[in-house]
Structure formats: C-alpha cells, structure tokens
C-alpha cells in the first residue's frame, strides 16, 4: 500500500514536471499521436481488408479458366464450355461475361459484368454505388452507353447497390448478356472466361490439369489461388503495408534517438535538486519512467482512437487518395472493424517500450552523478 502511495506521488510529480515543460511535452505527445494514428490506420485497414477478402472471396467461383493469346486473356469460344463441362468431375461450367469500359461522360474506368445468377432484364442495369455517387444516379434513371458497333444503347437503372457492397462492386455495372455483348463487342458464342464448379473439392487440381492437357492455351485459377493473392496483398511484407509503415518506423527511431541522447540542462538541474532533497536514484528512474510512459501511452492511445474513428466512422477519408491513384472511382471504405489485436498490441509495444526505455539511459546517467556538481552545471 505504501509502495502504491509512493508511486502515486511520483506519478503526480511527473505530471507536474511535464506540465512545467508544456511546449516540449505537447510537441512529443503530438509526434507520437501522429505516428500511432498513421501506423494504426494502416494496421486496421490491413486487418479489415484481409477479413473482407477472406469473407467475401470464399464464395468466388471454384475454378476460373482463361484463354491466353500472346500473354493476354482473350474471349473463350463457347464450344470449349460444352467440352469442359462434360469432363468427369465437373458439376457445371458457366460462361462468365465481364470486361471494362471507359465511361464516355466522365472518363472513369467501369467494370461491366453479367451476373451468373440474377442478371437484370434486357434494357436495364444494376449500378455500383461508387459510380452512382459520381453521376448522382438513382433508380429509374436512364444511362446511355456507347455500343461497339456505334450508336448509344439506352439502359434504365433498376437497382443501385448499397455502399456496403462498394468493396466488391462499387465501380460495376451489371447488365443482361445481350446488352453486354452489344456494348463490349463480345460476339455471341464467346465468353470472357469460364467458371467451373467441381463435384469434389480435392479434385480441383486434377481438373485444372485435364483442362490444360486438352487446351494448352488455357490457364486455371482456383478459388484458393484467388484467396492467396489477397493474403499476399495484405501480408506484412507487402508493399501496401511496408510503404506506409517504413517511414513511420524511421520517424520513431529519430524520436527515440533524441530521447536517449540526453536530458536538457533544466531537467538535469531538476534531478540534481531532487537528489539533494534526498530522492534516491531508484526514485529518479521511476520518475523518468513515469514521465516517458505518460507521454507514450497517452499519445499512442489517442492516436489509436483517432485512427479507429478515421477508418470506421469517417471511412478512411485520408487514405482514399492513396488507393484512388488516377481513377475517378474509388470505394467507400465501409469496412468491418475486425482486427486480430496482435497487430495493434505490437504497435503499442513498438511505440511505448522503446520510448520508455530510451528515457532511462540519460535519467540513470544524471541520477548517479554528484547532485552538487549537477546543480552547478558541471555535469
């Protein structure tokens, strides 16, 4: 109990001491706040997107088959669809129709897709909310899209997808197959690629091999590979994470270095006076640790709370331009707060522990010198 009370008094003294150096304290607090805000935003974004990819893409087609000519995907003849569908172990094969189109009015790059199930009727379309926001489209509006053979094709909006679907289909227009063929120029009897469902999941690899034996110009992508693509994208070593966390680590190194390199003359004098008044070197070290911890913990925690609010309440408004690049369309990051906790706790440890330890070195040096010499400014 006495030890706790002593700790309380030292903490109280540490707060007072930080209050006397208000400018320096606030500056350091702000630095740590900004660092932890930026780093936590990246960690939370990574965790949420990773979760989003795992949850949504586990429903992606089991096997996608593309035909490549000169290294580029080309439309697949639907005769192949029939033959591949007849392979033993294939439950069904579907013709996927999808592609891209530059929106004539805005120049935005759109994804066009014909849903495998639940495609809209001919002459109508379903619009992703990022594009609907850009053009302020509502249900019932008419959209004129250029046809491959020339002339416009008028389509009526029958549904605008909710913002929560942005992360998979924000830029997507879902059309009827006839409208898609007229706009994209994909002739009848051709598919953009093929989606297969297999009877036994363990036979996926065998079926992919059978297809490649039959058609050497086709490549197969399994659902597991699609999921692995996103695992790699949100891996700790990925550019997306390293590009943002790298500079922050260097900034943290500078702050820790500054902290470890010495105390100001006012701080040294203060330590000298405290030693003169009878404080032991253990008390001084505890005081310095308390000072460091108050700054590091409060700056880091405030940064974490701000990062949380920024990403989940303000939908990552500051990050959008980074992912947006040259494109006009970008997803509203309406993400599910889902973090393993490990990333965030390691972040707290990486910011708080080095900072607290760095404060001990000069504190120890000053606490073990002769108080008289320190007060006279000799040490």
């Amino acid at each position: 109990m006495r030890a706790l009370r002593r700790l309380g008094w030292i903490l109280e003294y540490a707060l007072g001491s930080l209050g006397r150096r208000r400018g320096r304290t606030l500056g350091l607090l702000l630095c740590l706040l900004v660092l932890s805000f930026l780093a936590a935003t990246v960690v939370l974004l990574r965790d949420s997107l990773r979760h989003e990819a795992q949850q949504r893409l586990r429903h992606a087609p089991e096997l996608v088959l593309q035909q490549l000519v000169a290294g580029r995907p080309v439309p697949v003849n639907s005769e192949r669809l029939q033959e591949i569908g007849d392979l033993r172990g294939v439950r069904d094969a579907s013709c996927r129709l999808w592609g891209y189109m530059a929106d004539p009015s805005t120049g935005a790059l759109l994804s066009l897709v014909v849903p495998l199930n639940g495609a809209p009727e001919a002459g109508t379309l379903i619009v992703g909310s990022a594009y609907a926001r850009l053009l302020q489209l509502e249900v019932g509006a008419w959209l004129s899209l250029p046809q491959a053979a020339g002339g416009p094709r008028m389509l009526q909006v029958v549904e605008v997808l909710p913002q929560s679907a942005d992360v998979v289909a924000g830029d997507t227009l879902a059309l009827h197959a006839d409208d898609f063929r007229a706009i994209s120029g994909t002739p009848a009897g051709q598919c953009s690629d093929l989606a297969l469902r297999v009877r036994n999941q363990r036979e996926q690899g065998t079926i992919a091999e059978k297809v490649q034996l039959k058609y050497a110009d086709m490549r197969a992508l399994s659902r597991a590979e699609i999921l692995r693509s996103y695992e790699a994208l949100f891996d700790w070593r990925s550019t997306l994470v390293l590009a943002m966390l790298g500079p922050l680590s260097l900034a943290m190194l500078v702050i820790v270095w500054e902290r470890a390199s010495g105390l100001s003359s006012a701080e040294r004098r203060e330590i000298g006076i405290l030693r003169g008044l009878g404080w032991g070197s253990g008390d001084i070290l505890l005081l310095k640790t308390c000072e460091s911890l108050v700054i590091a913990v409060s700056g880091t925690m405030l940064g974490l709370v701000l990062a949380w609010a920024h990403l989940y309440w303000w939908q990552g408004g500051l990050l959008a331009p980074v992912l947006q690049g040259w494109s006009l369309l970008f997803p509203a990051l309406e993400l599910e707060p889902r973090t393993s906790g490990l990333g965030l706790w390691s972040l707290v440890a990486l910011l708080v522990v080095p900072y607290a330890l760095a404060g001990l070195v000069p504190g120890w040096r000053a606490a073990t010198r002769d108080p008289d010499a320190i007060m006279r400014g000799a040490a």
């Binding site: 949504r56 849903p115 997808l161 998979v168 992508l221 693509s229 994208l233 992912l323």
Partner: protein, 95 residues
C-alpha cells in the same frame, strides 16, 4: 489539481475501453448483413480496391504482362500498381 490529472488519465483509459466496446458493437451490426451474397450470385473474383488499371482492379485475374500492357518497353503507368503486388501464382514457376 491531483484529481484533475488522474481524471485525465482515466479519460484516456476510458477512451481505450470505448474503442474496444465499439469494436464489439459494430462487428455485431455487420454480421446481420449477408455481405458475401453478391460475390456468390454474380460470380465475382476480386475486391474493388483501386479501379484505374486491369491489374489493380482484378489482381487475381491479372496476367504477368498486364502491368506492362500499354506496349513493349512501357512501364506500369498506374500508382496503384506500385502498391498492389502481383499474385503469388504468377511468380511461381509453372510446369
């Protein structure tokens, strides 16, 4: 004065607690939505993270040549291409 300072500390700890509580609350509300339905019904393969280029819009469908697809000897023109890594299956040797 002392109470005021400890109040400040308590506020910080409280805000941390709030943050954890918010996580639970928002997660529960999201679980009510059936967010994967669209991917299954439409047969989609990718997340929409960056829409400017083929290889960043549909990274899992990308071929090795996509990033350089503007022409022979051309570099990847798109900023998102620097952030979005090619899928591992493109880097692995194929039989």
């Amino acid at each position: 004065m002392m109470r005021l300072r400890f109040l400040l500390l308590a506020a910080l700890l409280g805000s941390a607690g709030f943050w954890l509580a918010d996580a639970q609350h928002v997660s529960a509300s999201y679980q009510e939505r059936n967010r994967s339905l669209l991917v299954a019904r439409w047969g989609l393969t990718d997340l929409f993270l960056a829409g400017e280029a083929r290889h960043s819009r549909h990274p899992s469908m990308a071929t090795a040549a996509d990033a350089l697809g503007t022409g022979p000897g051309q570099l990847d023109l798109f900023p998102s291409g620097a952030l979005i890594a090619p899928p591992p299956q493109l880097r692995a040797a194929r039989p």
